[in-house]
């Protein structure tokens, strides 16, 4: 098929074509000037598309074929947990009793939703091993900020104003960014030779000015920090709190609970661990669970249950940090997480982690001779290898990743964490079959072979995708961030 230049929906628009239908006006047609003063009325209509319904559907359907979803193939992105998104969740969240709720409608008319939230809060508290949950934050990073603001409120209530938060050098970028927005200074803690927090370095950094430590366990190297109880003890003794970044919870469901490890605040990513879809970048959610000493500071409102069994939102919480977002949370996302947990039960949840860890170890075993394995340890649900042995052929981790696309796979995470050179971070998840994993291993073996024999081809990969490698430098130097029209060109837009 001849390749026509890709067109935006604006470029496909024409001459008064339309898709919409609207009800007829059934009240008096008052002149617009009487409704809105001339000075506030729109001079020119927004240049939205002009397409028929069929053209609209074809346009978006075609665009969907250019994408790669979990149902397209394997998606071993480390720290993203690209597991299967169950279709029953999609049915559940679309029920009118959930989708049709207005956030300000009387609570008596939303008892089902409130019960769902109340139960989900309890289940997350149980999974975390801590006391009280808020479903309010809109994303993991948002949960981090919420947790840090709670830490701040707690310390202030104790009459303390420590200024710094410790973060391992393997941390996800949202951690230090959240720390800054919360008004703290991030301080990096190095990792030791086994990939865990360097205890001696940690001790040297713990002083009265430490508000807390943010960790994920297992960490972004996919390794469980065996010293976690000692780390928790040291931080608590110094007067700090421990924050658990729940991005890697898929390794430890029903196996080990962050509350039992010593953490005081935990956030979960339902769009990772609890199977809610990634949507091309969102929406997600970032519920957090806290130890009872921190409960008073949770954002308002909390979901409560009265003596008579009625559920309600409690707004009268004088020590709360306030409100982290409008309304009560990404309810539509939370319905999916609820459905997932309810369907799996305790055995299903534990099996998730058992199989996620087994799958990761199986893939690692199949490819360890091809790459450098930076830490000789049991990996959990994900692992990191280094593609530096391929440098001798002039091939980098980026090239391996791009070539995987030609093999019908999504690449792993690349160049993260920063402490491993030419890092490739694989997280197969528990929903990949053994055949899928064998296919992935075979592809990687083939690609490493190509590094020796056809390095030039690898550096241009992918070669079978809808587009080749894109000029990202030009996109950043001279950004074109919207449709351009000839009539706009005059004003340097």
């Amino acid at each position: 098929m001849a390749e026509a230049e890709r067109r935006t929906i604006y470029e496909k628009s024409c001459c008064g074509r339309r898709a919409f239908s609207l009800p007829a006006l059934d009240v008096a047609e008052v002149p617009l000037e009487e409704l809105v003063p001339a000075g506030l009325r729109r001079a020119a209509a927004a240049r939205l598309p002009e397409v028929s319904e069929v053209e609209l559907l074809r346009h978006f359907t075609e665009l969907s074929t250019l994408n790669f979803g979990v149902e397209t193939g394997s998606y071993p992105l480390g720290s993203c947990t690209m597991k299967y998104n169950p279709k029953v969740n999609e049915v559940a969240c679309r029920l009118e009793g959930f989708a049709g709720l207005h956030p300000y409608q009387p609570e008596a008319l939303a008892q089902g939703a409130l019960e769902l939230m109340y139960e989900l809060e309890q289940w997350l508290a149980e999974i975390a091993g801590l006391a009280r949950t808020t479903l309010q934050p809109a994303a993991g990073a948002h949960g981090e900020l919420t947790g840090l603001l709670i830490m701040r409120a707690y310390h202030e209530a104790q009459g303390r104003t420590p200024k710094r938060i410790l973060i391992p050098d393997t941390a996800h970028g949202t951690n230090p960014a959240s720390v800054v927005i919360a008004g703290y200074e991030p301080v990096a803690v190095p990792s030791d030779a086994r990939g865990g927090v360097d205890i001696e370095a940690l001790k040297a950094l713990l002083d009265v000015d430490i508000a807390g430590l943010m960790l994920t366990n297992p960490n972004t190297l996919g390794l469980f920090d065996e010293n976690i109880t000692e780390i928790a003890r040291l931080v608590h003794e110094a007067g700090g709190l421990l924050y658990y970044d729940g991005a890697n919870s898929n390794a430890v469901l029903g196996i080990s609970r962050p509350g039992d490890m010593g953490f005081d605040i935990v956030h979960f990513n339902p769009h990772k661990t609890f199977s809610t879809p990634h949507g091309g970048g969102g929406p997600g959610a970032g519920p957090i669970v806290v130890r009872d000493i921190l409960e008073p500071f949770l954002p308002v409102p909390l979901v409560e249950k009265a003596e008579n069994g009625r559920f309600f939102f409690e707004y009268d919480r004088p020590r709360s940090i306030g409100k982290m977002r409008t309304f009560v949370g990404n309810f539509g996302v939370l319905v999916r997480a609820y459905t997932y947990i309810r369907g799996l039960g305790p055995d299903g949840l534990r099996r998730v982690s058992e199989m996620a860890v087994l799958n990761a170890n199986y893939v690692l075993e199949g490819i360890r001779d091809l790459f450098d394995v930076p830490f000789e340890r049991r990996c959990m649900h994900e692992f990191v290898v280094s593609a530096s042995p391929l440098k001798q052929h002039g091939v980098r981790a980026l090239d391996v990743a791009k070539r995987m696309l030609d093999y019908g796979l999504h690449p792993p995470t690349t160049y993260f964490p920063q402490i491993v050179d030419e890092a490739l971070m694989f997280e197969p998840t528990e929903t990949e079959s053994r055949d899928d994993l064998d296919t992935m291993i075979a592809a990687l073996r083939a690609i490493v072979g190509e590094a020796e024999t056809q390095p030039g081809m690898l550096r241009e990969a992918p070669i079978t995708m809808p587009v080749q490698r894109l000029d990202e430098a030009e996109a950043a130097r001279h950004p074109v961030l919207r449709q351009r029209y000839p009539e706009d060109e005059g004003d340097g837009a």
Binding site: S13, A19, R42, A46, H102, F331
Partner: protein
């Protein structure tokens, strides 16, 4: 139920390949003292049919606003979402895809975000839109951080006409960092007095913020406040209802530097308030400071047109502690829904829809104000929402009308803490009319209100 594909034979072979005796060995590095041995105390697994039965039971315990004659608004609106939206957003290639960090295999996601960014720019009259945000409250907080960073000033002046929840979120999120918010009360009639704002603006003001239409539905004088802000060297931030922009002038044409808001009304179910669709758009000058993801157009190695995430060095995953925001995810799927809805409405349909809502709201308002005892709270022109003052409790009226199948509106009294202590909001009701409300429904509602007021009078007599 269980989504793990492995049979026991698979597991046995894989364990052998890994070189361990059993699954338990995989967790040998976890110290026993933090191992959980008892099963988690959550309900036991059920089959898919039973699961759905459970969810249906919960949903049936709700009476959603969409099943009643609803006049609820205050930031979330009950508009008709065309069938094409769900047909497209439920495609798994859109719904289950990750963030488009591998652009060669994500051109669909990237192009739809580019088209969404364009639509927001067109509506708001601004140069650059990001790929969406969580909601209007957090978008406002981000706008405040942006203004603070750009001007290096320490305060932000807001009209009390900005939604009380947005103001609460702003105060909470910027408690540790960024400009201090300062709120200026609304005068009688509920429209902001530009002079009152001007009196609060000084050399330390990073930005001045108005909402259009404001929380009580009043149409604000954007041009006048733009002047106030710019004269003081501050940025002008507008929180704009995007559907109103089908009828109202674009904030970009009236001097806005940053426009944020909630775009749930396009393509997204109300869903108890989330996930919605926060948006942010800025002038070209602020392009390198805008938070969130951005998609840009470029070419590939063969000269073919393509799209990529760009200006990523603004974002947390590269800047880390130098980031100006911690936002990571966007509401991509909600943005796609909005784009589809806006494309379905199109250049002609959006103004028609906006006019339809405005006319219905005007009709309802006029008829309600004819009811003895119902007074105007919002004085001047409005778009699709307005406030009235009742002699008694607005919350009581709302409750009384539920059995008759009406959700009368949002009682403003629930937000009393975010307004001037002297403003008695108990009797104030916020009422919205979308294109879904028929004349017959509105007439029946007015009659019900009149009846309730008369009964109340009798009760008080």
């Amino acid at each position: 139920m269980d989504y793990v594909p492995h049979s026991p034979a698979d597991v046995a072979e894989m364990l052998a390949a890994v070189g361990v005796g059993g699954v338990e060995d995989l967790f040998s590095e976890i110290p026993e003292q933090v191992r959980r041995r008892e099963p988690l105390a959550v309900p036991a697994a059920v089959s898919e049919a039973e699961l759905l039965g459970e969810l249906r039971r919960l949903a049936a315990a709700d009476t959603p606003a969409t099943s009643l004659v609803s006049f609820l608004g205050a930031g979330v609106y009950d508009h008709y979402v065309p069938a094409v939206v769900d047909a497209i957003v439920s495609r798994s290639e859109f719904a289950t895809a990750y963030t488009p960090y591998q652009p060669e295999r994500s051109q669909g996601v990237l192009q739809t975000i580019f088209e969404y960014q364009t639509a927001i720019c067109e509506l708001t009259g601004m140069d650059v839109s990001n790929a969406s945000m969580y909601d209007a409250g957090t978008a406002l907080a981000e706008a405040s951080l942006l203004a603070g960073g750009q001007t290096r000033r320490g305060s932000i002046v807001l009209s009390a006409g900005v939604h009380p929840e947005y103001r609460q979120v702003l105060a909470t999120e910027t408690a540790g960092y960024g400009p201090r918010p300062q709120v200026v009360d609304l005068p009688e009639g509920a429209a902001t007095d530009p002079q009152a704002l001007a009196a609060a603006v000084d050399a330390d003001t990073a930005a001045v913020v108005l909402q259009q239409p404001n929380f009580f539905g009043a149409l604000e004088d954007l041009a006048a406040v733009a002047e106030v802000a710019h004269a003081a060297g501050a940025l002008f931030v507008v929180v704009a209802d995007p559907l109103s922009l089908g009828l109202l002038e674009a904030p970009g044409a009236l001097g806005a530097d940053i426009v944020v808001g909630e775009a749930q009304a396009f393509g997204n179910a109300m869903a108890f308030g989330g996930p919605g669709l926060g948006y942010m758009a800025v002038t070209r000058k602020l392009m390198r400071r805008i938070p969130g993801r951005l998609v840009g157009e470029t070419v590939d190695a063969g000269g073919k047109r393509g799209f990529v995430l760009t200006l990523q060095t603004r974002e947390q995953h590269i800047r880390r502690q130098k980031a100006t925001s911690n936002i990571c995810s966007n509401h991509a799927l909600n943005a796609l829904a909005a784009l589809v809805h806006l494309s379905w409405l199109g250049k002609q349909g959006l103004p028609e829809l906006a006019e339809l809502c405005a006319r219905k709201a005007a009709y309802l308002r006029a008829r309600l104000l004819e009811v003895p005892g119902v007074d105007a709270f919002t004085a001047g022109p409005v778009f699709r929402e307005f406030a009235v003052r009742l002699p008694g409790s607005a919350a009581e009226l709302v409750e009384a009308l539920v059995p008759q199948g009406f959700l009368a509106g949002v009682p403003a009294g629930r937000f009393a803490a975010e307004f001037d202590a002297g403003a008695d909001l108990d009797g104030v009701l916020l009422i919205a009319a979308t294109e879904k409300r028929t004349r017959a429904e509105m007439d029946a509602f007015v009659a019900a209100v009149a009846h309730h007021m008369a009964g109340a009078e009798v009760g008080r007599g």
